[in-house]
Symmetry: C2
């Protein structure tokens, strides 16, 4: 087991800075040796954060290939723009360095295969850092599912329902790649925050797999209306036509007959929700009203007056996931309500132990492929599209995910 | 304006009895002259209810054609099994009698055209009695939409999410047609409770129309698990394979780019919800957490800490629909929390005035067609299916729905 870890970070925008701060927190064994971004000022800001944490000055560069060629890294973490993830991840695996990639969606199914092929050729692990797989309620629900509380799981829903209008609309000013994506593409561009936890519930790539999807996009009206109000009609983007529909709904069918309904909803006013929703033959969970419903218990009220929604809080004590029990005892820290800490913790443990990636390339490929496949389905009027088996049959005997 | 109305009812199961009781309540001008059901005992029970209300003994029969041939009716109300609605409605229109039909889904698109054609040939109105169009929150939200509170509407969701396992599983014992439907068909079999109010929000058939849909069904597991537990493995239906998936998700695209996501969810344990959900460029409403979210107001909290879900109750005073304001003043009565009273009230007023149907054959055809079209889409692996324009172009100049 390695004591200290030498890390390189590629991509130092909002997400990368979040992650860097997580690495620098109370983990003295983490050495941030190198930071890379296409923008020099971001490299400088990151280097300053590293220095301020009491660590040595990191190497900085604007081309990730310099970082890889320099050597000495135990781990490369990629938080660059979505479209750069796969190139960098494959180069990092080929350089023999344990690799971790932020969440994002694929631009082509071929890119997903490239991740899988590169991993299979090199044997170098590549983790998909889907932090929501480590979310408190996501793990609580997974725990209940695994204990059979909801019976046989039949249907799941989830969404990335997050008002990102200011980030997207002013993406040029803020150098955020969402602007160019929303201007040009129309797809389920960010499926994994909700799909990751659902895939774990349904044992996707581990006894089950996603077979096909259909995807339909609404019109694009939210950004235009927002920009007109924020900047007036003279501002150039106020009259741009964004290709991205405000709401994209995707339905996925699985090998064992389950359905998954995903919603991308990022350009209309609303409160944040991942709309996590799990239904089985014995009960269900719904994030949006924080409810658990158990057959024979909550519908017993039917005979008196009406069935009732129960609260997830009544189940927290009994079903809190062990990982979160420990985390609560030691005190929650790190970004995104602690999810980032658990994600990077799992990653660092795996790197030190030389263990497989906690969320691997097969999951990364399957989950990210939804973006490219939804683009295909939407462009063909909602036509069903097959989802490849990126495990090449190994899904039938891979064991269930363990957080 | 006619003073009293002479009514015949066809179909006296659960739904028909509900409606009959509504007719018999404090409306002395309503004369129930005839009651018809294929089961004689149901006719007798209905006749007894009519007698007990102080009205004359009604004519009873087991064949609706006898009722129509007998004459003397101002209105025929059809609450028979779904598959009988269209035959009876067309016969009633051809007999020159104002017709009203309970909610239900079509078995073929041709049946929907038959409704339209018969109306256009005879000029006799036929109402679709979609009571949820008169629901309190549905009308409150419609009122807010019409006043522009949510901005331009982009996306709606709705569902018939109602645990009907006992009704369906014991449909043979209870003579409920849902049993044979769930055993044999796989479709969005009951779309109109949620689609009616959504269609009003989106001005479907009145400046807008539904263009196409995709529909995907989950496996069927709920009824089997329920029957095994309720009746054990020896009971015949415990080993029957129900064709109907537990959860059917349907996405509809509209002429002006809006999307509608519908969910049928009737064979898994849960609390009742129509999951009504309306999103626009300035705000949204969500039934499941009883929330309203207004841009610039509720996301103002973002800067301090987090955006918040507001409660619909805060908007009730200002935006309660006038119909409900009056109803609350006079005191709510009738089935389904008063929705039935408002629906039949609108119908009776229209019949007395010789006015068009409050919800007409074009709406009936479009909404009911979703069932047949979803069956087609599901059977073709989720393929997109076109939704006919049952108005033959009149949707472009029909004026918005007025409750």
């Amino acid at each position: 087991m390695k004591e200290s870890l030498h890390i390189g970070l590629v991509g130092l925008g909002c997400r990368g800075t979040f992650l860097l701060k997580d690495c620098l927190l109370p983990r003295p064994e983490i050495q941030v040796d190198a930071v890379c971004d296409v923008y020099e000022d971001r490299c400088e800001d990151a280097a300053r954060l590293v220095r301020e944490s009491g660590r040595p000055e990191p190497f900085t560069c604007t081309d990730y290939r310099q970082m890889l060629a320099r050597g000495g890294l135990d781990l490369v973490m990629i938080t660059a723009a979505w479209e750069a993830h796969v190139d960098i991840a494959c180069a990092s695996m080929r350089a023999g360095i344990y690799t971790a990639m932020e969440v994002g969606g694929a631009y082509s199914v071929e890119d997903c295969w490239r991740l899988v092929d590169t991993f299979e050729e090199t044997g170098v692990p590549c983790m998909m850092m889907e932090n929501c797989c480590y979310g408190r309620n996501e793990l609580l629900v997974l725990n209940m599912v695994r204990q059979g509380i909801f019976g046989e799981i039949v249907h799941c829903q989830g969404g990335y329902r997050h008002d990102l209008r200011s980030e997207i609309a002013f993406g040029r000013e803020n150098r955020h790649y969402r602007f160019r994506n929303y201007l040009n593409r129309n797809c389920e561009n960010y499926p994994t925050h909700e799909l990751g936890p659902i895939a774990n519930v349904l044992n996707i790539n581990r006894g089950n797999r996603m077979l096909s999807l259909v995807s339909v996009a609404s019109k694009s009206a939210g950004l235009h209306d927002y920009l007109l109000r924020e900047k007036g009609p003279e501002y150039d983007a106020s009259s741009m036509r964004f290709a991205q529909g405000d709401v994209v709904t995707t339905i996925i069918r699985c090998a064992h007959g389950e359905t998954i309904c995903l919603t991308l909803d990022t350009t209309l006013p609303r409160a944040y929700s991942r709309a996590f929703h799990v239904q089985g033959t014995r009960g269900m969970y719904m994030e949006d009203n924080r409810s658990v419903f158990i057959d024979g218990k909550d519908n017993a009220y039917d005979f008196k007056w009406k069935e009732r929604w129960n609260s997830i809080e009544e189940y927290r004590k009994e079903y809190e996931h062990p990982l979160w029990r420990d985390f609560l005892t030691e005190g929650i820290h790190g970004g995104h309500d602690g999810m980032d800490w658990l994600t990077t913790g799992a990653l660092f443990d795996a790197v030190r132990a030389g263990a497989p990636a906690p969320i691997d390339v097969y999951d990364a490929a399957a989950w990210r492929s939804i973006t490219a496949l939804s683009e295909e389905s939407i462009s063909c009027g909602g036509a069903p599209v097959a989802i490849p088996d990126f495990t090449r049959g190994k899904w039938m005997h891979r064991s269930p995910w363990k957080p």
